[in-house]
Symmetry: C2
Subunit: 159 residues, 2 copies
Amino acid sequence: MTLQLEGWFARRGDTPLGDHCGIDRTMQLVGNRTSMLLLREAFHGTTRFDALHRRVGVTEAVAAQRLKELVAAGVLTKEPYREPGQRTRHEYRLTEAGHALLPIVIALLEWGGRYTPSEFGPSRLTHADCGAPAHVEIHCEAGHAVPEEDLVVRAPHDR
Amino acid sequence: MTLQLEGWFARRGDTPLGDHCGIDRTMQLVGNRTSMLLLREAFHGTTRFDALHRRVGVTEAVAAQRLKELVAAGVLTKEPYREPGQRTRHEYRLTEAGHALLPIVIALLEWGGRYTPSEFGPSRLTHADCGAPAHVEIHCEAGHAVPEEDLVVRAPHDR
DNA sequence: ATTCTGGCTATGGCATCCAATAGTCAGCCT
DNA sequence: AGGCTGACTATTGGATGCCATAGCCAGAAT
């Protein structure tokens, strides 16, 4: 009913993992509501400060602060651009590391849609090519869907 | 380079989504470091208060508070049990909704392992049945892996 | 009867997150 | 020249998250 642990994960005592755990490090970087919602907007294609802060529904001060952190964390870039006849502005775009956050964002979206009540239904995810419903899943490189009890977590450099 | 939006998502102005967004609701329930780490331990099979608070590395007061919230959110249950010759204790176990958080937790783990520096390497995930490396992916029900640009997000009850 | 352990609760304080309000600055528009 | 807009910065204040320390209570062990 739970994961299978290997390496020293399996026989550790009560010592906390602390920064050795990727979950912890990820949560410290992007584990707050505003950052996740800003990332949602970035995945929706929103690039400008004004739209970002408005669509997330947060004050400008907070949006500016979180965006600065996300740029520092390397998940967004702030790049100058100019539309013809406009002055130079900046746009926020996902880096490769930022794009790699998609499974987290979609997993949050799916879980919320399924397990938290809302007067509106959940968003539906589909594959553009074939139209079939899409979901976040754990898959192995041999192509199998991996259920929780078949997932092995091996601690780094085994000892 | 971004998601494909359908329904009113595609043509909304600058109105914030607020609680209509599952990401937001999920973050409000479990979007903090301690809750995620407690969930990590739950997936590792840890059920007792003492072990949970020690292995997460958080004070008892905070652990008690977060566990209470997780139970209230319906992702953990607190059930009495007794070992022979021991007094009644309580164990914290994942509910079905709790187990459904696994993709979020694993996605956080994978991203942290790949994009945040650590003196130790990342944890390795494998499929117990075939031994192949495993990852969190977005898949459609027809069996295709869905890249970001082919993922369609349709707003609830299209209008 | 006293001690010990597991599982908490209580208190105080510091830090972070957020809202609300106000102000700044650059440059286009009139 | 003055106003407007986009993109911020600054300040105040409240709520939440966390730590550290201390205390409480039930029931087994002694």
